[in-house]
């Protein structure tokens, strides 16, 4: 199983979870259906023309119906965003296999999960809405609830014990580590350049190679650069996790982010940056580190609020080996690889586990706050949206590309606060994809269907799709795809003793053949050929054996023969062996050799020899052998 991501866009259909009682949210009117019925008014609320579920937010799980997940042996994780559904899979499906991921992926993945669990559990919500999920009811609802898919499969968030259990099933791996799976295939993670510890995977046998490219970046940010060379010679390249915003240039977005931030603060407003606790935030902090002094922002406090803020900042500094070259070099000095260490030391950046406690004492405005969750449905960000939403001095800047910012803002409408959309998605865009494919030259490309056509909103942009030869094979949800290659060979080992016993024969210049009859041992999908056991010695006792004892136990196979028999030579050989009455008759296709005394007739043709003997059976064997020797080759 490749990756185990969680679709969190489902939470956009829910009302935000406020940290403190929000009169605005609690006063929202219940939904009245077109026919005037109000039976859903406890579950569904209306806000500025949108309908929201008033319940604990729920997530859309990966497809679990299509196959029995207890038959999955291995899950390969490509980055920490792609493992968020892991507890659902490992704890509830009978899965007993192993999960492979890099150390940063696991550590930061744990932080993301911890933050998620924490921000949902700390605001217990009594209500759990389920009536609206009834198919008959859902049909009556306004969009987008009406069209939401698989709502019956939506699940509440997991708990920390489940997270810990899931993570304990992960086996840590390093880049370019070759991991043998059941002796049958080898998997190898490669740096994908997108996030700390993010990987692409190579799945290969001795003869076939499948590359799984997911969430890769060719831009120079903090992670180790993408390893492209190792993707070469792939039979199949599975390509996914491209940028969600193919039209936005990440560098330009960072510039816009900084200038909007500076402008707001200079005007006395606050800036809210909804974000994940790891990833782009490191790059943003680094930009700000270089920018704040020149922009005159030295006195503006930067706050990073998350239950895992401290851990995230600390962890970022200890994964030197997974960082880009420049950052690695800093560690050799030894200096912390990320400059946010200095921001913290100089008190420019402060981090808090939540808005409660120390933060409320230190809080000064105007300020810049980084906090989660980017969906604006839970976490400390909800508090600041409620707090700052009414003033047009403040700005919320969206940098994470996973959620539509308009949908995210919907339950906060009407909103006076400025909204700036600067999505920073460093993953591959279509230009980079075609460059990459040209470079690594896979025989076949497999990708999700949406990459094979322009985005629905920009159908004229034919440049926003994958363009390669042969055209990519596409797949959609719950579709089974047969990959276009045929396995022909497997590795087998010939033991030295057996190799010694082989008798090769040069058939053509440079080509030799040897017949091999050997014992095949197969263990853990590894095949070994050994010398066959010696035939048992004929029993010395004179006791008459039962007939069936004589039945040859295994059929010692004779080689196939090839070539033709030179008749003259054959006759000479026969005569040498004491056949005095050899007569040769020519026929249309060859010759007939008659041995009258032996009551034997031998038909010799170009590609066949038939020995027919009436009686004298014992003669047949030496003759057969003679025929064989006269034939040029045994295959």
């Amino acid at each position: 199983m490749l990756d185990c991501g969680l679709d969190m866009t489902s939470t956009l259909n829910f009302l935000p979870l406020p940290l403190v009682q929000s009169p605005r949210l609690s006063k929202l009117p219940g939904l009245v259906l077109k026919d005037g019925s109000t039976f859903l008014d406890k579950e569904l609320k209306e806000c500025s023309g949108h309908v929201f579920v008033d319940s604990v937010p729920e997530f859309c799980l990966p497809e679990t119906e299509l196959l029995d997940l207890s038959t999955v042996d291995v899950i390969l994780i490509s980055n920490y965003h792609c493992m968020m559904a892991l507890p659902y899979i490992t704890e509830y499906t009978g899965f007993t296999g192993t999960v492979y991921a890099t150390e940063p992926t696991v550590q930061i993945g744990r932080l993301l999960m911890e933050e998620l669990v924490n921000s949902i559990e700390r605001v217990p919500k009594a209500q759990s809405a389920s009536m609206w999920k009834n198919k008959e009811v859902q049909r009556l609802l306004p969009a987008p609830l009406k069209d939401a898919v698989e709502v019956s499969m939506w699940r509440k968030c997991y708990t920390m014990p489940e997270v810990n259990a899931a993570l304990s099933k992960i086996q840590l791996v390093g880049y370019s580590q070759k991991i043998e799976l059941f002796g049958a295939v080898q998997v190898t993670p490669l740096s994908s350049g997108y996030a700390l510890g993010s990987s692409n995977w190579i799945i290969q046998s001795h003869y076939e190679k499948v590359s799984y490219v997911s969430g890769s970046s060719l831009l120079t940010t903090h992670p180790q650069p993408m390893d492209q060379a190792s993707l070469k010679n792939s039979d199949v390249l599975i390509l996914t996790g491209l940028t969600q915003i193919p039209t936005a240039n990440p560098d330009g977005m960072v510039g816009e982010f900084c200038s909007n931030l500076a402008m707001t603060v200079r005007n006395g407003g606050n800036v809210l940056v909804p974000c994940y606790p790891s990833g782009v935030i490191y790059d943003l902090l680094e930009c700000l580190y270089q920018y704040i002094d020149s922009a005159g922002l030295s006195n503006v406090p930067f706050y990073f609020i998350s239950p895992v803020a401290n851990s995230s900042l600390e962890f970022s500094q200890i994964f030197a080996e997974w960082l880009c070259h420049n950052k690695q070099t800093k560690v050799y000095l030894p200096e912390p690889p990320f400059p946010h260490a200095e921001l913290i030391q100089t008190n420019k950046l402060k981090h808090y586990p939540s808005i409660h406690g120390d933060f409320s004492n230190d809080f000064k405005q105007p300020c810049v706050i980084f906090t989660g969750h980017p969906s604006l449905r839970f976490g400390d960000v909800v508090h600041f949206m409620e707090l700052w939403g009414k003033s047009s001095l403040n700005t919320v800047i969206f940098t994470e590309p996973d959620f539509s910012y308009l949908d995210a803002l919907a339950p906060y409408q009407p909103l006076a606060m400025k909204c700036v959309y600067c999505p920073i998605d460093t993953r591959l865009n279509f230009i980079q994809v075609s460059k990459l494919l040209k470079e690594v030259q896979p025989l076949h490309v497999v990708c999700p269907e949406q990459y094979t056509q322009p985005p629905p909103s920009q159908s004229h942009r034919t440049d926003l799709m994958i363009d390669c030869q042969p055209p990519p094979m596409s797949y959609r949800r719950a579709e089974v795809l047969t990959l276009p290659y045929k396995r022909r060979y497997e590795k087998i080992e010939i033991m030295p003793e057996l190799a010694d016993s082989l008798v090769p024969l040069e058939i053509k210049p440079g080509i030799s053949l040897a017949t091999v009859s050997a014992m095949l041992h197969t263990k853990d999908n590894k095949h070994v050929l050994q010398l066959p056991p010696k035939p048992p010695q004929p029993p010395t006792s004179k006791k008459r054996k039962r007939v069936s004892d004589d039945v040859p136990e295994c059929k010692p196979l004779k080689p196939l023969l090839s070539g033709s028999i030179p008749v003259d030579q054959f006759v000479q050989t026969l005569e040498k062996h004491g056949f005095s009455d050899v007569k040769v008759e020519d026929t249309a296709k060859g010759h007939i050799v008659l041995l009258q005394e032996a009551e034997t007739l031998i038909q010799i043709e170009e590609d066949s020899t038939h020995i027919i003997c009436d009686n004298d059976e014992p003669l047949r064997v030496p003759e057969g052998r003679k025929v064989k020797f006269c034939c040029s080759d045994a295959v």
Binding site: G174, I492, I494, P504, L513, V516, M519, V528, D614
Partner: protein, 618 residues
């Protein structure tokens, strides 16, 4: 004694096909590290690839003898052309101290592999060592700072467990060794031949590092250090308690404790130990750590925390073990302060620098104590006082009388005999080669290894070559069709299979005979035998056939015997037809016909039928 290199060669002699590459010779010859703990430098030749393992210097010498004699590797020609790569196991100078000399002064431009922490820390120690040698002792003809920098540019950092492809055939892989921060064992592999070099390692986790680990990689040769070849060390807890007791007692009676250490490694381990003890006992005597390296050293530990043990890694966000409360930076002037104190000072073998200076100051007072926490090389002051010498001749013919107490406590993180055996059990090598130990102790361990594991064990001297013969199996490609045919029924049971091996250029492919004929454009020559067998049976033909059929079915239980609608019988692919004898109606003629491939079964059937049919058959 000139220091040469320990050389171990794994070479193959390939006989021409058919017996494809059958024997491998593993000669090993060497120049440093064999039967000596001085400095490590081992040359391995494996399947035509030459790899140098470690590039250490000998702390006990101050002249040319401190560096390995690289002319052993190649007399003529450049080292770069001869060596495929150099691997450094960890940052201790007896494993990397000669590296700048080797790469910049002798001349080597190929790749040098080490782990990230080693790459980070190694140049610091080299520079430190250079300063002591050149700036303080005024030696010339030594490598410069710039040479260290240039040398480090040739270093490629590797991750644990990463398979590094040095070239198309040669690959190396690092395993955790637990000796110091970043210490690694290396597997060197060419084709199906492999060598594991342990460097220095420790099989028991300590306060800041984890235990060495390797998978069951079954190398042809395991080259293991054997510093503590005969020691089965008492429990670590006892040693620690002993250490703390001695330090505590000395401090209590107002004495000064000197602990010579290397800036990184045991120093951090002992610092953690003393820090927690001071905290627990609420002690006030100052603890100092000499040299400017301290801060830096601890910083490395913080940044490379992923290389420490699990406990430290888990708690580092809450409490970083390398931020010490009680341990302060040392100033030279403090040495003359009255009252008790504990000082960690570098270097660890008392051969130069600050530790030696402090030692000279404190040696005359019997209240003081020096604790040597690690091994000392012959020739160093550390080695001398440990071997009981109490009058030392210092520079300038000065005699120093040692009255202070001298204690030795083995805190070096080397595997003891038990640990070495444990590693051998883990890796399952076919041969073992002991290096980095003393001959007598190695001999003892060698016997033990040979007894317990029934593998050959070698212990070459410096400059000696050891050759090890391997007998690898030959990997060939088998067509899936042939393999599936053979494994279709019960994959687990060994079974006899037949195929044709096609040898072309350097490729070996095993295919079915039919496919081989087809591929080579050869026509099959069919050889068929037909035999007439006369049977006395007055019944009708089809009844005779039925009797034959029943008879064969009864005898040949494991074979497919069929009675076809046209009246003939098949046994596997052998055809039997019955006709009435032209003259004698009471005699039936059975025509048994088979191909050469069914020779055995065919002749068996003929002789079986000649014996006639059993009377009881109805």
């Amino acid at each position: 004694m000139p220091l040469a290199l320990l050389v171990i060669c794994l070479t193959f002699t390939t006989s021409s096909p058919p017996g494809p590459a059958l024997t491998a010779r593993v000669p090993a010859s060497l120049g440093g590290a064999g039967q000596d703990v001085g400095r490590s430098c081992i040359l391995v030749s494996i399947a035509g690839k030459n790899v140098m393992l470690d590039c250490g210097m000998h702390m006990g010498y101050n002249d040319d003898r401190r560096f390995p004699d690289f002319s052993y590797i190649t007399q003529n020609g450049r080292l770069t052309d001869f060596l495929d790569c150099v691997i450094i196991s960890h940052f201790h100078l007896d494993h990397c101290g000669a590296l700048p000399y080797f790469s910049e002064m002798v001349g080597y431009d190929g790749p040098i592999y080490m782990t990230h922490p080693t790459k980070a820390i190694c140049p610091i120690l080299l520079e430190d060592y250079r300063k002591i040698t050149v700036d303080k002792k005024g030696e010339t003809n030594f490598f410069t700072s710039q040479m260290i920098k240039d040398c480090m540019k040739k270093v490629v950092a590797v991750h644990l467990h990463q398979t590094v492809q040095v070239d198309e055939e040669l690959e190396i892989k690092a395993y955790y060794a637990g000796h110091v921060l970043g210490a690694a064992m290396f597997q060197i592999k060419v084709g199906c031949e492999s060598v594991v070099y342990t460097g220095d390692y420790n099989m028991t986790p300590d306060r800041h590092l984890g235990a060495a680990w390797i998978d069951k990689c079954r190398p042809d040769l395991l080259i293991t250090e054997s510093t503590y070849a005969t020691t089965i060390r008492d429990s670590k807890r006892c040693r620690e308690r002993d250490f703390l007791k001695k330090v505590h007692e000395t401090v209590e009676r107002g004495g000064k404790v000197l602990i010579p250490v290397f800036a990184l490694g045991r120093a951090q381990e002992l610092c953690i130990l003393l820090e927690t003890f001071w905290e627990r006992m609420n002690l006030k005597a100052p603890i100092y750590f000499s040299t400017g390296l301290t801060e830096k050293a601890n910083h490395y530990y913080k940044l490379f925390i992923t290389w420490t043990n699990q406990k430290i890694r888990k708690t580092f966000v809450q409490r970083n073990m390398f931020e010490f409360k009680h341990i302060k930076a040392f100033d030279r002037a403090f040495a003359d302060n009255p009252g008790p104190m504990v000082v960690f000072a570098t270097p660890g073998m008392l051969h130069a620098g600050q530790s030696l200076q402090i030692f000279r100051k404190w040696a005359g007072n019997e209240k003081n104590m020096v604790i040597m926490p690690g091994y000392c090389v012959q020739g160093t002051v550390g080695h001398k006082i440990l071997s009981g010498q109490r009058k030392l001749e210092m520079e300038g013919r000065q005699i120093l009388e040692v009255k202070m107490q001298v204690e030795y406590m083995s805190f070096s993180a080397h595997a003891d005999a038990k640990g070495i055996m444990q590693l051998i059990r883990q890796a399952e090598p076919r041969n073992v080669l002991l290096v980095h130990g003393e001959a007598k102790k190695m001999e003892f361990l060698k016997q033990k290894i040979e007894q317990e594991f029934h593998v050959n064990c070698y212990m070459p001297a410096n400059g000696e070559t050891t050759t090890i013969f391997t007998n690898p199996s030959i990997p060939v490609d088998i067509s899936l069709g042939l393999l599936k045919r053979e494994t279709a029924i019960d994959a687990k049971k060994p079974k006899l299979m037949h195929g044709t091996l096609i040898m072309k250029d350097n490729s070996f492919r095993l295919v079915s005979p039919e496919q081989a004929l087809k591929e080579l454009g050869l026509a099959e020559h069919q050889l068929r035998f037909t035999c007439r067998v006369h049977i006395q049976d007055p019944r009708k033909e089809h009844e005779t056939v039925l009797r034959v059929y029943n008879h064969l079915k009864g005898v040949l239980k494991d074979y497919s015997v069929q009675h076809l609608p046209d009246g003939s019988i098949t046994v596997e692919s052998i055809l039997i037809q019955a006709t009435a004898h032209l003259e004698d109606q009471g005699t039936k003629v059975l025509l048994v016909s088979w191909t050469y491939q069914d020779e055995e079964l065919g002749s068996y059937l003929t002789s079986l039928l000649k014996k006639g049919l059993p009377q009881s058959t109805s």
